[in-house]
Assembly symmetry: C2
Amino acid sequence: MPTIKDIATRLNLSVSTVSKGLSGASDVSDKTRQLIINTAMEMGYVPKQGREGANPVKICVFIENMGYERIEQFGYDIIVGFKLEAAAKKWDVSIVPLAMNQESQYNYDDYMVTHHYAAGFLLGFTLHNDFIAQMQKTNIPTVLLDNVVYNKNVACVGIDNQQGIFYVVEHLARLGHRNIAMLNGETISRVSHERLNGFRLGMEKCGLNVREELVAHGDYMTDCADKFVSYFIREGATAIVCASDLLAHGVLRELYRMGLRVPDDVSVAGFDDLPLASYTTPSLTTIRQNRMAIGKSVCMVMDQMMHGTHINRLLLMPELVVRESTGKPKI
Amino acid sequence: MPTIKDIATRLNLSVSTVSKGLSGASDVSDKTRQLIINTAMEMGYVPKQGREGANPVKICVFIENMGYERIEQFGYDIIVGFKLEAAAKKWDVSIVPLAMNQESQYNYDDYMVTHHYAAGFLLGFTLHNDFIAQMQKTNIPTVLLDNVVYNKNVACVGIDNQQGIFYVVEHLARLGHRNIAMLNGETISRVSHERLNGFRLGMEKCGLNVREELVAHGDYMTDCADKFVSYFIREGATAIVCASDLLAHGVLRELYRMGLRVPDDVSVAGFDDLPLASYTTPSLTTIRQNRMAIGKSVCMVMDQMMHGTHINRLLLMPELVVRESTGKPKI
């Protein structure tokens, strides 16, 4: 099978010129590039996938503020999906858990270069500002879960949060709900903004008004449902859209405490499809994030980034999973 | 190296259960899935990349309303990038050019199944409505250039158009421009919406007002600059942001006809970085779409889709290329 070197020899060009011509770089003239491409096609050139040689590519995964060690935790399947794909590429993967705020002690690029890491994957519900600031100028190919940074070396992978909540609202509107409340996560999180956008778009698309008193921000990590649920109910909400399954779980418990039945009195929907969503009573209607697919996609995007393709964002499709916690509103 | 069958034998489970457990499917219990994953990791399981066997995967590429046969045309590098990656995967690729409106004669899924195509790639500036309608319910893994459809079997690949125009506006604002006009493409195109959003966001971010009389829609395929340029100039525009290099080329010619100098009297920017952008006088400041990278990314996304990962959208990073056509405004 012909190599870049063979093409270079045939054309009497340097290996780097041929390589640039094949990668679409702008500093090779069109005429030369055309010649390189035609010759490559004619010789049956096939790009080499991945690097070969004695030293495997070293990858570092940083995790902050997210469980990943047990199957019921959000990060578990993401890491498994990533590791499986990385194994196929023969990458050497290190997992580095970060304690809250510990990143401020790191200079990310120094750390990566010193430890011979070729690329990084960062995941956590709320990444520390200092680390995100460093992402804006890093030279290391890096993939973030759900966080978007406009640096050609940084890509974002996650599901389409907006569309996910959109599906939930559409589902509830079809059941006949009009007064739909949303219990969102922290305002500082990008994911919360996208989910709130999805809520507003969904309501608009279904011809429903967003009542601002029925929109509240809790947080993803702790139970805060008791603060909002009774207020929502007093304001006439017949359905509560939650930005996570954990929030929804808190809402179910609070409704139970108040003596209200789900979905007969109030419908409740979650987000994530964590294992717990099947085990609540009633089981939760939710939006499935295929976390194994997220992990695999991170690996694929990282591979492309290491080969010079500047990916900004990869969005996976959310999937509505209808279980028992949503039904028609009382007449 | 252990296979899925080896894992199934060890655990006394069916091959399909193991396969589902490893793909993150929701209909395997957590306990079983944990067992499958632990066993796979312990046995050193590595996923098989791509399919093997006698019959290569057949892929169909449909092109409408876009040149791709010569290097100076927009589609050329996309197809080359796609073909190079497809060659590495040993895919058998057919290119099917579609005459305008011809798609209404096709039932897409029937066509694909009858011809044994495993996946499709559709590109064109304005895809026919009937084809887009079919995309909303296709069961064939399909990738569209720049067009977003919410079907789990359809993914969109393209550059971040909004961010691209944002970079142009930021560049012009930094040079000191305040009265910036935008000559956009057809209103019916999704790409035009995104580019106009980028224009508005960029102006807002830079503290500038969008003057609606300085925003116009032309089209991507024909020369329409003469209709808008003299009006923009009369209204006091010192810079014209164009939604494509072809539009910018028309603007340059019209300004020349009017006796105005670029960038001394008016700055002009394009979009795409087609080969022509280096050859205009003056050469064009523009946004580079790395079309080879787009083609490669389509291939990568398609591969994931055929393996059951539902990708909604992959966005590549745009790149500002500053050449001669932009400069400081006259004082």
